[in-house]
C-alpha cells in the first residue's frame, strides 16, 4: 500500500511515542503495527529521520542494542510530542471529512 503524501513524518513520530527505536526498528515497527499493510522503503524513511532530527522533533543517541551492537536510537523530544498532537488532530479531521463524503463501503463501490 502506498503512503499518502506527508503522512510518513506523522507515522514515525507516533511510532517513537511508544519507545526509542533505531532506524531499522522504526521501519519494522510500522510494518508490524499496520499488520504488514504499510511497507516503508528505507530510502524514504532515512532522509525523513534526518529531516525530523534537524527540525528538533526527534533526538538521536548511540546506544547498545539487545544484541550487544552499537546502534543509533531515536526518541521523541517534547517539541516532537507537540507536533504529533497537532498532526494527530489534523489527521482525525481529515479522516472524518473524507469519511463523510465516501460513506460506508457499499456493494457497487466494491465492484
Amino acid at each position: 500500500m502506498d503512503l499518502l503524501q506527508g503522512t510518513l513524518d506523522m507515522l514515525v513520530l507516533r511510532t517513537l511515542l511508544l519507545a526509542p527505536l533505531h532506524g531499522y526498528g522504526i521501519a519494522k515497527a510500522i510494518r508490524s503495527n499496520s499488520s504488514e499493510a504499510l511497507d516503508i522503503e528505507f530510502g524514504s524513511l532515512y532522509p525523513a529521520l534526518k529531516r525530523l532530527e534537524l527540525k528538533g522533533w526527534i533526538a538521536a543517541k548511540w546506544e547498545t542494542s539487545e544484541h550487544n551492537r552499537r546502534v543509533r536510537f531515536y526518541r521523541l523530544t517534547p517539541a516532537g510530542r507537540k507536533q504529533l498532537q497537532r498532526e494527530h488532530s489534523k489527521w482525525a479531521d481529515f479522516v472524518s471529512a473524507v469519511g463523510q463524503i465516501m460513506g460506508p463501503v457499499s456493494e457497487e463501490g466494491k465492484s
Binding site: 533505531h22 531499522y24 522503503e41 528505507f42 532515512y46 529521520l49 534526518k50 551492537r69 546502534v71 543509533r72
Partner: protein, 612 residues
C-alpha cells in the same frame, strides 16, 4: 542559526562519520538488500542538510571547469560564439544610444524641443537650422517659450601665435545655458548680456578642457586667453559631463554669437538675416501643442521682421507661410543622426541575427555533446546519483560556459565600440567625434541574459531527457532519445545555416560595394599628387600680406626637390566642401535653384590634375 554550524568542516565530517556508521550498523541488522541502495539513501539524507548546497556548488564548479578544459574545441567555439553575439550587440547598441537616444546632461531634457522650419515646398525636409535673428526674436516670446537658444559648432585657434592649438568650440546665443538649465562648475556661464554687440569678449570653457589645460585650477576663471588671435576673458567653467548641445563634438571653448565679428571677421556674415546656420533649442512655457499653436499664430508677424528684406518677395512669402515643427530636443543635435541612422539600424539588425546564430550554435553544440555524455549520465544514475543532483551539475556547467562567453563579450564590446567610433570619425582630416562609449549596461544585461538563458535551457535538455529514462535502461539502449533529439538538432542546424547564408551574402555584397567605391574613377589624376591644407587667415595674415604669403608658399614648394609642379586652389575635388553660386552669362536671368560650383585656382591647377 543552528544551520550555520553545518558550514564548519569538522562538524560536517563528524556528521558524515556518524551517518556512515549508522547505516553500516543498520545494514548488518537487516536482510541483504532489504534497505535498498544505501549510497543513494546517504545522498538523499545529506541533501536534507543545509550545507550540501554550497559544497555541491563548489564541487560542481570544479568538475565543470575540468570538463570544459578537457573539451577545448567545444569550449572555445561556444564561448567565442556567445562573446561575438554579446559583444557586437552591445557595441552597436551603445553607439546607437550615444548618437540617437541619450539625453543631454541638462535639467529636464525631455521638456526641450528643437525648432525646425517646414515650408510648403519641401514639407518632407524640415530645415533644422535657423538664422540668428529668428533665434533672438523667438527668445522674446515668453508667452510661447520660457527660453530659446541657438548654437552651432565651431573651431577656434587658441593660444599665443607661437603655439596655436586648434580647439573645438561652439557659437551660442545668450539664452544657451539658461535654456539648458545648467549651473557653472566655476565662475559663471554666458547670459543674454554677453550676446550683445560691443559686449566684453568672454568665453566659457568645458570641464574637460579646464582639467587638461588648467589642471582644474579655479584661478583659470578671470584669466585671458587668445582665441583666433584676440584676447578673450574666461568667465566660467561649464559643469562636468556637459560637452555641448552638439552631440559628438566636445565644445572646449564656448563664446557668444555676437562676438563673431571680432573673433572671426571673415564669418561676420553669419549674423545677417539671410544666414540659416543655428540649431535652435527651446523650452516651451506652455504644453507643446499649445506652444505650437501660439507660434503658428505669431510667426507671420515675426517673419516680417526677421527675414532678410533683400530676398525676393516670393521667398519672403514662402517663409512667412512656413510652419514650425517642435521636435523633441532633449538629445541635442548631431549631423551623425541623419547620416548614420539607417546604417546603424542595418548594423543593429545584422548583429541581432548574429546573436541568434550564436545562440543556435551554442544550442546545437550542447545538444551534440549531450549525445556523447548520455553514457556518462546513465552510469552516474545507475551507481546512485540523484536526478536533481545531475541536473544541477549540468546546470552549473552551462551557466559557467555562458558566463565565460559573457565576460569575453563585454571585453569585445569595449574594443568594437572604439573601432566603430574611428570609422564614424572618418579617419584623418575631419574633426574627431568624441562619445562616451562605455557599454550600455541595459543592453549588456539583456544580451547576457539571453545567452545565459539559452545556454542553461539547452544545457538542460540532455539532463532531463537522459535522467527521465533512468539509469539501467539507458546503459543498454541509448538509441531512443537520440532520435528525438536529433530532430531538434537538425532543425537548429538548418536555421543556423540559413541565417549564416543570409549574413554571408549580405556581407559579401557590402564588401564588394566597398571595394568598388575604393576603386571608382574620380576623373582626375591621383598618382603622385600631394595635398597641403593650410589657412593663412587663421595664422593671422590679412589682405595683401595674405596674398604674399600664398605666393611665397607656392614658390617655396615649387623649389622643393622632387616637386615637378604645384598650384594653389580654394577647394579640391572630393574634399566635401564646395563653393557654389548662381551664375549666368551677362544679360540672362538667374535660374531658380541652379548653382555653379566654383574653384579658385592657380594656372597650373588643371594641368596638374589632368591625366597624361
Amino acid at each position: 542559526m543552528n544551520r550555520l554550524k553545518w558550514l564548519l568542516p569538522a562538524y560536517r565530517r563528524a556528521q558524515e562519520k556518524d551517518m556512515k556508521e549508522e547505516l553500516e550498523s543498520l545494514a548488518a541488522m537487516a536482510e541483504p538488500g532489504e534497505l535498498g541502495n544505501l549510497t543513494r539513501v546517504a545522498e538523499e539524507a545529506r541533501a536534507v542538510w543545509g550545507w550540501m548546497f554550497l559544497e555541491q556548488l563548489c564541487r560542481d564548479l570544479q568538475y565543470a571547469f575540468r570538463t570544459l578544459r578537457h573539451n577545448p574545441g567545444f569550449t572555445v567555439t561556444a564561448v567565442l560564439s556567445l562573446a561575438l553575439g554579446i559583444g557586437a550587440n552591445t557595441a552597436i547598441f551603445s553607439l546607437i544610444d550615444a548618437v540617437m537616444l541619450r539625453w543631454l546632461p541638462v535639467r529636464d531634457p525631455q521638456q526641450l524641443v528643437q525648432l525646425k522650419l517646414v515650408s510648403a515646398r519641401a514639407a518632407a525636409h524640415p530645415v533644422d537650422t535657423l538664422s540668428y535673428a529668428i533665434a533672438i526674436a523667438l527668445a522674446d516670446r515668453k508667452d510661447i517659450f520660457s527660453n530659446v537658444c541657438g548654437f552651432n559648432a565651431a573651431t577656434f585657434d587658441v593660444g599665443p601665435s607661437s603655439s596655436v592649438n586648434r580647439v573645438q568650440g561652439a557659437w551660442v546665443s545668450g539664452g544657451y545655458y539658461d535654456t539648458l538649465g545648467l549651473n557653472p562648475a566655476e565662475g559663471r556661464l554666458l547670459g543674454p548680456d554677453d550676446d550683445r554687440p560691443g559686449a566684453p569678449l568672454v568665453a566659457v570653457i568645458g570641464y574637460g578642457y579646464w582639467e587638461r589645460q588648467f589642471a582644474g585650477n579655479p584661478d583659470a576663471v578671470g584669466q585671458s586667453m587668445r582665441v583666433n588671435g584676440v584676447p578673450v576673458t574666461i568667465v566660467g567653467v561649464s559643469p562636468r559631463g556637459f560637452t555641448g548641445a552638439n552631440v559628438g563634438v566636445v565644445a572646449d571653448v564656448t563664446v557668444a554669437i555676437a562676438t563673431v565679428p571680432q573673433l572671426a571677421p571673415a564669418a561676420a556674415g553669419l549674423l545677417g538675416p539671410g544666414n540659416f546656420w543655428l540649431h535652435v533649442l527651446a523650452r516651451p512655457s506652455v504644453s507643446i501643442p499649445q506652444a505650437s499653436a501660439r507660434l503658428a499664430a505669431a510667426w507671420p508677424q515675426i517673419s516680417d521682421q526677421v527675414i532678410s528684406t533683400a530676398w525676393p518677395a516670393e521667398r519672403r512669402k514662402e517663409m512667412a507661410e512656413s510652419t514650425f515643427d517642435l521636435a523633441p530636443g532633449g538629445t541635442g543635435y548631431t549631423y551623425l543622426r541623419e547620416r548614420f541612422k539607417k546604417p546603424l539600424m542595418v548594423l543593429m539588425g545584422v548583429t541581432a541575427l548574429v546573436l541568434l546564430i550564436a545562440c543556435a550554435n551554442v544550442a546545437s553544440l550542447l545538444l551534440a555533446r549531450a549525445t556523447a555524455r548520455q553514457r556518462e549520465i546513465s552510469v552516474r544514475l545507475a551507481i546512485g546519483a540523484g536526478r536533481g543532483r545531475i541536473i544541477r551539475q549540468l546546470l552549473t556547467e552551462s551557466t559557467l560556459l555562458s558566463l565565460l562567453g559573457a565576460a569575453l563579450g563585454v571585453w569585445l564590446a569595449w574594443l568594437t565600440s572604439s573601432f566603430l567610433l574611428r570609422i564614424l570619425s572618418g579617419g584623418g582630416g575631419s574633426p574627431s567625434i568624441v562619445f562616451d562609449l562605455a557599454p550600455n549596461w541595459h543592453i549588456l544585461a539583456f544580451t547576457c541574459a539571453v545567452s545565459i538563458a539559452n545556454g542553461v535551457l539547452f544545457g538542460l535538455v540532455p539532463a532531463f531527457q537522459t535522467t527521465a529514462i533512468g539509469g539501467a535502461a539507458m546503459v543498454k539502449d541509448g538509441d531512443r532519445i537520440t532520435r528525438s533529439r536529433s530532430r531538434l538538432l537538425s532543425s537548429l542546424v538548418s536555421v543556423q545555416v540559413a541565417l549564416s547564408l543570409l549574413l554571408l551574402v549580405g556581407a559579401g555584397l557590402f564588401l564588394r560595394t566597398l571595394t568598388n567605391l575604393l576603386n571608382v574613377d574620380p576623373g582626375f589624376r591621383r598618382e603622385g599628387v600631394l595635398l597641403v591644407d593650410l589657412d593663412g587667415q587663421r595664422e593671422g595674415y590679412r589682405d595683401a600680406r595674405l596674398t604674399a604669403f600664398y605666393k611665397d608658399l607656392l614658390d617655396r614648394v615649387q623649389r622643393l626637390p622632387g616637386v615637378t609642379s604645384a598650384s594653389i586652389s580654394s577647394h579640391t575635388p572630393q574634399s566635401g566642401a564646395t563653393w557654389s553660386e548662381a551664375v549666368v552669362p551677362k544679360g540672362q536671368t538667374l535660374p531658380e535653384g541652379d548653382n555653379a560650383i566654383f574653384i579658385a585656382a592657380g594656372p597650373s591647377f588643371l594641368p596638374l590634375c589632368r591625366r597624361r
